[in-house]
């Protein structure tokens, strides 16, 4: 009888419940950190109850009757912000394509590559707005210097995209050019450039989209454009105009995103959409960055 029960007992034994200790400990630690941070913040938590009502009150002031008379001026300032973003994007792309290519493993020598990558990493780590802000204090607060600041602050990320793209190119074409006696410059021109040009063009447009957001932010600190107008009318507490400006910002940004996104998709996937695997990866990665909207 024992012979009969023994195997059935082991065979039907329910596996041990996985240990809950580690998840519990992690949850407690995370909870403690969050709580400690929340308590330490100088926020009058007791006033929080009246907050939704207050916000609703202001939203009513802003959006119940937006001040449409100011729309022409708002559009004028929007175009100024777009101009800042566009010139900034052109400057950023013109500088970052050669620098980024020199920093790619299959183009630049190591003594050039490492310092360049270090420079990009430093520019990337400091928030763009801070770099732009510091430059603006030195160069003066005008839309033109705003564009320059955007161009310089964007180099870190833009150049990184360039060298990652160049490094992801398949070896075949480069080997062919080298076998035909081409030097590094010729390899770059005839093998790498044709392979990366669509992706780089797409990244350039993407830089424009990012700059549109950042240029609004630069306006807030006084570089001109829609951001400056918004900051001014917020300071005047003219809520109906602020509401109209917010609507203009949202609509203009979404519109520009849609147009630029459509062009980018056409560049990357083409009218006869059939991308090579390497290209498809790029599109995916780019879309991942796309949503992040790091400013």
């Amino acid at each position: 009888m024992s012979v009969l029960t023994a195997p059935s007992a082991t065979g039907l034994e329910v596996p041990r419940h996985p240990s809950r200790i580690t998840p519990t400990v992690v949850a407690v630690i995370v909870g403690a950190v969050v709580l400690a941070s929340a308590v330490g913040l100088p926020i009058p938590w007791s006033d929080l109850g009246s907050l939704p009502g207050e916000v609703a009150h202001y939203l009513g002031l802003m959006f119940s009757a937006p001040n449409w008379e100011m729309v022409p001026q708002a559009l004028f300032e929007t175009w100024r912000s777009f101009s800042m973003a566009w010139i900034g994007a052109i400057g950023c792309v013109i500088v970052s394509i050669p620098l980024g290519m020199l920093a790619a493993r299959n183009v630049g020598p190591i003594w050039l590559r490492l310092p360049l990558r270090g420079l990009f990493a430093v520019i990337r780590a400091v928030p763009e707005v801070i770099i732009a802000l510091l430059l603006l204090t030195v160069t003066g607060l005008t839309p033109f210097t705003g564009a320059l600041a955007l161009a310089i602050a964007g180099i870190g990320t833009q150049a990184k995209w360039v060298y990652e793209t160049v490094e992801s190119v398949q070896e075949g074409a480069s080997e062919a050019v080298r076998a035909a006696g081409g030097n590094t410059a010729e390899v770059t021109r005839w093998a790498l450039w044709p392979a990366v040009a669509p992706a780089l063009l797409s990244f350039a447009l993407y830089r424009f989209e990012i700059n549109i957001r950042t240029s609004a932010v630069l306006g807030l600190v006084g570089a001109g454009g829609i951001g400056s107008m918004l900051a001014n009318y917020t300071n005047f507490r003219q809520w109906d105009t602020v509401g109209m400006l917010l609507i203009v910002v949202v609509v203009a940004t979404m519109l520009m995103d849609a147009v630029s996104g459509a062009i980018r998709r056409r560049i990357m996937k083409g009218p006869r959409a059939k991308a090579a695997p390497a290209q498809r990866n790029l599109v995916q990665r780019e879309e991942r960055i796309d949503v992040a909207r790091v400013s």
């Binding site: 995370v30 950190v33 969050v34 941070s37 929340a38 330490g40 913040l41 100088p42 926020i43 207050e54 916000v55 202001y58 559009l75 004028f76 929007t78 175009w79 100024r80 101009s83 010139i87 430093v122 780590a125 400091v126 928030p127 707005v129 801070i130 802000l133 510091l134 204090t137 030195v138 160069t139 003066g140 005008t142 839309p143 033109f144 210097t145 705003g146 564009a147 320059l148 609004a216 932010v217 807030l220 600190v221 951001g227 918004l230 900051a231 917020t234 507490r237 602020v242 917010l246 910002v249 949202v250 940004t253 979404m254 995103d257 991942r288 949503v291 992040a292 909207r293 790091v294 400013s295």
Partner: protein
């Protein structure tokens, strides 16, 4: 014979894919847009290099000062930096909690009801299209200077990112467990709770960590418009042209951002 051979060969060569007319048109459009951005009369920017050079001679002293950071200032930056980190953590945590139901609402497999799905997605898209500092500016005017407007800004910003990214990831994943749950007679809520959430939580965890990283970067600048944290100190020292102090703050932000990135990459490898 040679002529027939060359004719055959020329027939083999495929035509050049791009027409010159199209290239010229694209180039013209590009040039026209660029020129239009440089006409001050319609709102474009004035390319005034002369003024730039004049300002540069005034401001270059500041850059020299910037290159000589005054580390005696460091103790005064600790408090604001701590506030920045606290805002980042609390904002990310609040957004993480609220993001779960909203994401399940915004993804097609977990919410078959099209009108509510479109509604949630539209709201999220509108929320995402406002730049972070614009939120902060308006909120500072609404609820006053301090950490609260910064916290709300971070919360809204994170929510937009998490819901957008994770709901699209859920859309793209093949989840046979939904069909299994439906076949077993489960309601959509039960399927989401018992089937979808356990399978998609690495997606969530990944984005939560990512927003924590972003938050540290953003909350460092929120103070510029008065929303608390290290940015307020930075703006104050900048206004006094104390660029040696500004250099310390920027260095500190750089170090903290890099540390948080390393920490979050470590966690991501462990968790996901």
């Amino acid at each position: 014979m040679t002529s027939s051979l060359s004719a055959a060969r020329s027939a083999e060569v495929p035509p050049k894919p791009r027409s010159r007319v199209r290239t010229a048109l694209v180039f013209l459009a590009f040039a026209a847009f660029t020129v239009a951005t440089c006409i001050p009369a319609i709102g474009g920017i004035e390319l005034d290099v002369g003024a730039l050079i004049r300002n540069w001679s005034n401001g270059s002293g500041l850059l020299v000062q910037f290159l000589q950071p005054d580390f005696g200032f460091l103790p005064r930056t600790i408090g604001p930096m701590l506030e920045t980190l606290q805002m980042a953590v609390v904002g990310a945590a609040l957004a993480a909690v609220v993001s779960v139901p909203l994401t399940l609402w915004a993804a097609a497999p977990t919410n078959p009801n099209a009108p509510t799905r479109v509604l949630v997605r539209t709201i999220i898209n509108v929320v995402r299209s406002v730049p972070d500092l614009v939120y902060a500016t308006v909120l500072v005017a609404m609820v006053g200077v301090g950490a609260l407007p910064g916290l709300i800004t971070l919360f809204l910003f994170d929510l937009g990112i998490i819901v957008k990214l994770v709901s699209e990831a859920i859309d793209a994943t093949d989840l046979p467990i939904i069909e299994a749950g439906r076949a077993a007679g489960g309601t959509q809520t039960q399927i989401n709770r018992r089937g979808v959430l356990p399978q998609t939580w690495p997606l969530f965890a990944n984005q939560w960590l990512y927003t924590l990283e972003l938050n540290v970067r953003i909350s460092a600048i929120l103070g510029i418009v008065g929303a608390g944290g290290i940015g307020r100190l930075l703006d104050e020292r900048r206004a006094f042209y104390a660029y040696d102090d500004v250099a310390v703050i920027v260095l500190e932000i750089l170090v903290v951002v890099v540390l948080i990135e390393i920490f979050s990459n470590f966690l991501r490898r462990r968790l996901v």
